[in-house]
Symmetry: D3
Subunit: 302 residues, 6 copies
């Protein structure tokens, strides 16, 4: 069960309202790398987790992320406080309000006109948050790796936001949130590596002959060798079709009944390679003749 304390985990002090800045902050509220994504990610993993240690860690961090969602959302709300009053009570003239909304820059007009200055669960472009952002698949060695990567990404987005404002109070609160991502990443790393073994994930082994092959699929100036494709670590092979030694062509067995229908479909819809039909595009060139397309050598087949 969750409980709430009206004091924030970290005090938010905003020295000046600014709806344009508020809008950029939405990235960490309702954006793909934001706190709602983090909280939902760990909370849903918690529910399905059976390992006592991970289960406890997941809910500790999920609950903290919810508290961070509150901190960043409070920053957005504080920065929008002036805009909220303007939108609901109006300004002296319509032109003034129009300029105020358009002049704040980026996509803050959506927050103002559609959401009345409240903090919507969208990113800074106004795109609604979607659970498609969450990549949990119910396997701990994968989910922990996904969590590690997610914490790293969130750290960077906070870094970018910190670089965008010189409001000391906002900077400080963002700095706290950024720092906690570093801490959480470390916890998830410890949890991953205390699983023995965690690589490759899952139970099925790979095919030995392909597990350490590196295929050079892109050729030309710019090929580089390094530990990611070095002879020490990989068998370096040029791209090649049908590496199984087969034909490379797909085969399937269709029942006799189905085969009849498939054949019927093929005949009904075949394109005749020997035709040279007049086309709609030729009709559409609009210069009196339907047959002037191509290279001037067209001959009608009809």
């Amino acid at each position: 069960m969750f409980a709430h304390n009206k004091r924030l985990q970290y005090t938010v002090r905003v020295s000046e309202t600014n709806p344009g800045l508020a809008n950029l902050m939405l990235e960490q509220f309702g954006g793909p790398q934001g706190e709602l994504a983090a909280a939902c990610r760990y909370f849903t993993q918690y529910l399905a987790e059976d390992d006592p240690g991970r289960k406890d860690m997941l809910i500790d961090i999920a609950t903290e992320e919810l508290s961070h969602l509150e901190v960043i959302g409070t920053i957005v709300a504080m920065l929008n406080k002036g805009a909220k009053g303007r939108v609901s009570e109006g300004l002296n003239t319509e032109a003034e309000l129009y300029r105020s909304i358009n002049g704040a820059g980026n996509d803050s007009h959506v927050t103002q006109v559609l959401y009345g200055g409240g903090p919507p669960l969208t990113n800074s472009g106004g795109v609604p948050w979607t659970a498609a952002y969450i990549d949990t698949i119910g396997d701990p060695s994968c989910d922990l790796r996904s969590n590690i990567a997610a914490e790293a990404r969130a750290k960077i987005i906070y870094e970018r936001l910190i670089n965008l404002t010189d409001d000391a109070g906002v900077k400080e609160a963002l700095g706290f949130l950024m720092t906690r991502e570093i801490s959480h990443q470390q916890s998830f790393e410890k949890a991953l590596y205390s699983m023995q073994k965690n690589f490759p994930p899952g139970k099925l082994p790979g095919m030995k002959e392909f597990e350490n092959v590196y295929f050079n699929m892109s050729t030309g100036e710019g090929d580089v060798r390094g530990p990611w494709n070095s002879d020490a670590n990989f068998e370096y092979r040029e791209a090649e079709p049908a590496v199984d030694g087969g034909s490379g062509m797909p085969q399937t067995v269709v029942s006799d009944d189905d085969a009849t229908r498939v054949e019927q479909l093929a005949q009904r819809t075949q394109s005749d390679p020997t035709a040279d039909p007049v086309t709609g595009a030729e009709l559409g060139r609009g210069n009196g003749s339907a047959r002037q397309s191509g290279r001037g050598k067209a001959g009608a087949t009809r």
Copy 2:
């Protein structure tokens, strides 16, 4: 520039068509952990990457993932071949076709009725692929971690699919695709760790006093200590508001003009805590009296 060879990277042999199985395979075609997501992920990173080594690796792997998209899509197409003929040419009776489509199970009806038996870029639930699945943010230490996690997840989904079919040819091709995820994960790992330093990501340091704190946000039976929150690695603290030592309450400065409007808004929309108004719900209880809600002690204030 891309070029294409009509032979697959791995030969696909399907021994029996099965639209229900085809539909489950869509997870790795147009699903969140599938090959389109992988190819797009690495290809877009390639475009913006300036490091020669990573750039080459990203396009090698992106190109291979495109070739895997072709392999899994071919499996879907082969498994659906019979269904494709049925949908377009019909069966003997409508009831037969209805049963054939409904009886295949899971969501294959969408593939059949809407997509005519072709391989749509959806997951097995029919949800269209979205770039919201891609978590690239343009920082290499983050993006490599995201790639590592993505490869791990793809490995597991393939493992699940392999466990679902006893068609030897399908199993083998899926086994190849699964194996290559293991290989790619290893390359991304090597690339990540050949960045010195890669943790914490980015340039800004965290706040020292919070970087190694673990907050015990969830209490009760089930608290577990382990390396993810051990004294060896973390300062273990109980949850506490306002860890900055402040009030925990948000503050902002609103310009005088805005303050007037904010105040006006507050007054115009305040909820009177001393009222006990009749409500719509009370009207809606429908038993002759609007005031029977609550605990039987309601007294009207109007």
Copy 3:
């Protein structure tokens, strides 16, 4: 700040695992009327709210909805426990696992194959949760009405789910969750009606001459009069264009420069109503003549 207690707000007792039932339960986890939507709805309103009474109520209820999200998610996880083991560890044969996944019915295959038996933030059809479900606009008289309606809807979806299972423990927990929606609706109703005035919402008055008009836009057998369009409450008028007394035709003023371009565009792209051109469709009828479409009276104009 949020804190978490490892005990649920209401004890969940599941007497038998059932992935098909689990999947239907997702409606109240990651579905449009579910608990995540409720929690996000009230929590974001809380952040922007300045009225002390509403602010307190919103966070009380938001926190409880989070706790309900945990209860329903726990039900999903418990019902999926068997399926989770099967997916990750496999069954005796692939055919057995395939049947197990397909046989569970509805869309539970997505939960199993893609999410490994965990509770994903999707509805029962596998559609990812989206903040587009939240209709908060930052005006209290509107948002409270939206909340009232949302609670009513959630009550009904729980009622439908309760009718779907005879597992006493599941039924009881769902009954608790359903009951709380009734309670919350009553709180929101009280809060709405303690705003004086709350109708019409906002500041701008309507145009008196149209505020109580009912337009009979649909005619024919089935017209019914009732309080929603009665003479006692409304002026009942037949549908009519240009109720303002104007022409009903749109007018705009375009600058001279723009007018030139608009005119140029019009000429460049006009459709000639006097032509009778041969079309692609006619070419495509495939019977030797391009001009047999229509009513047999076609005469070429070119």
Copy 4:
């Protein structure tokens, strides 16, 4: 069956084109609170409704909302007329067109570059309209409440748009549309309250012991009592887990076969709480030692 009259329900007079203003108007065209949402909402309810009175009212209002969609869409088209010509015919120089498109502000560049100055079914941020905006669930007491709330929201968005322009003709047409929302809200209210009884919605009663409880889930300075949680109306209780008197811990029964697999999964993936493994993050700190993270007291366990 629908029919159309080429005259608008309300005459639209635009005195000056303005693509930036046009873009904001999209909120009521393809935005979540806009006219397409309204029309679809009532039209789909109409189709399933069996009550003669509600059925008639729903189609009357749905048809009017379609006519409003036409009015607001016409406003958008008129305001964009100049931009449409510029985009298709070009301006004197590319730089001029670039400035014209960027300078219009907000997200009008999407309307211009992607939609050619036509009115797309997006909101003002360019987000495509989605049926996820519609919250109809097929229960009249819920759907009417949802409609009431939707009308209230639409009224407010119109109010905000009216405050943004001083074009008298646009203001007047918006005023009409806003007024009609007031009228429609009244009709839906009358229809709701002429259902006896409409609260609680549905058939199943709540659990008496929880139906009028208010849980104080959020504590700290800021707790407020009012009619929404007053003793007159509610039993006011402090938050507490396991309000059913049980353990608060979930229980489920798993078949013996499944239990074996669940146990096997647990063992295979357990995190060892006694380990202190070196992690990737530690490798990534890049200072010659993998073991310097944490609080300086780390001791290796391997």
Copy 5:
């Protein structure tokens, strides 16, 4: 302005309710090729169209598509009538209702549990309708081609649905709707070809040297020549990079200030190709040694 007549454009007679069939019908209600998409497509084009002939045609057809939306939605509602009663009133036992909902097949459980048996604006997989389905771009020669293609697709989906039912009344109404798509396609074709010229669309000419080239980008067994790449119509060339004769490598000019930062970024994040770092994956193999990955020849560089 729209008006509505309570009689359908075509009478709907359903001889037996069937929620599974109802669900498949949703493809033409809220699916990508369905009637809402068609109506919205033509209606929004109408609003921006200035050509009198096309404008009139677009609104005629848009209005008819709305009337078709009503016909197909009515079919869905009629087929769901029994299910609607079951969901709201319950069946004798919960198990009976569960079987009834699961047994109807495909995704009808979403329609029943979430939408109460009403016709939701989703496709048959439960995916909400989105304006992303509409491809209007505000150029008549393009939009008419899009409309032609859309009508062709809708025709085929109706054909598939007709093949799925032997209910004579449903078949007949679907047959009418299918027929009208044929008719509409012909109108759009006539409108397109009465534009002189309509190909290539727009004003800018292509580069002559590439306008009729066909690049053979895919090689191997299966190359076919036909009118789409014949010498008569095209210059057939093998794939080749840098067809402009340049280097094929991108170039850009970065300001000196930016160049410094770009260089700084490159140095800070470079991957060292000469390293062979231990990786997380190696740590995770879990066999006592972190260095056994790759081909057994790894040598540490640190």
Copy 6:
């Protein structure tokens, strides 16, 4: 199998970085009419296609579109190069970076803050690419028409982008991409018309009596006759309900059991047309009397 050559199909030369222009270019990268959509469209058709000629053409063009995706993505990356450095390394002051990001105009702030200056798979408004953009249905005569329309649309969007920049290198590369759409459209046209017959698509004939009818659904000033509704081609009829000669009213047969439940539902939820209930809106008018709404003639019925 795909292979990649590090040289682009067309050399990209950018003379000046410009994140605002970069953002507009995203329309053809991750926008609905862009190259990813094109590549996916043809590639998935290729997989399911059985006709040898079309199959070869589809993969040739799909592969070229992938190569175009690379060209346009490279343009975006080059134009963003400066912004990428600024975002990751910071500027001299936070205010400078804030101005730099906001001042670039349109939605480039999303690309910069969220995607770090890389090319995301979104449109210029930041909306993530979705497979809902792809309208393939698995019927060749439809899919070819869809492809023709898609090429036409892409041509126009390129034309608009070309008009927006005077950077000669960008203009030239865009010109190449635009030209290739013209070429591809011609190939698809040839392929369509070499199918005999291709209209109407599919197997089922239409109802003769409705196949060439044009219904005049919209009346009033503005009716125009042309080849799309001329007597030569169509039977021109006024709009009329129940064109089948029936009642126009839907009928269905519900089983006796279901009928009981439907009737029970109707009675339970009926709206009483003879009531005039007090409503929530009336309570909310807040002027001491609940009964002042409407036209002043209200009389209570309760």
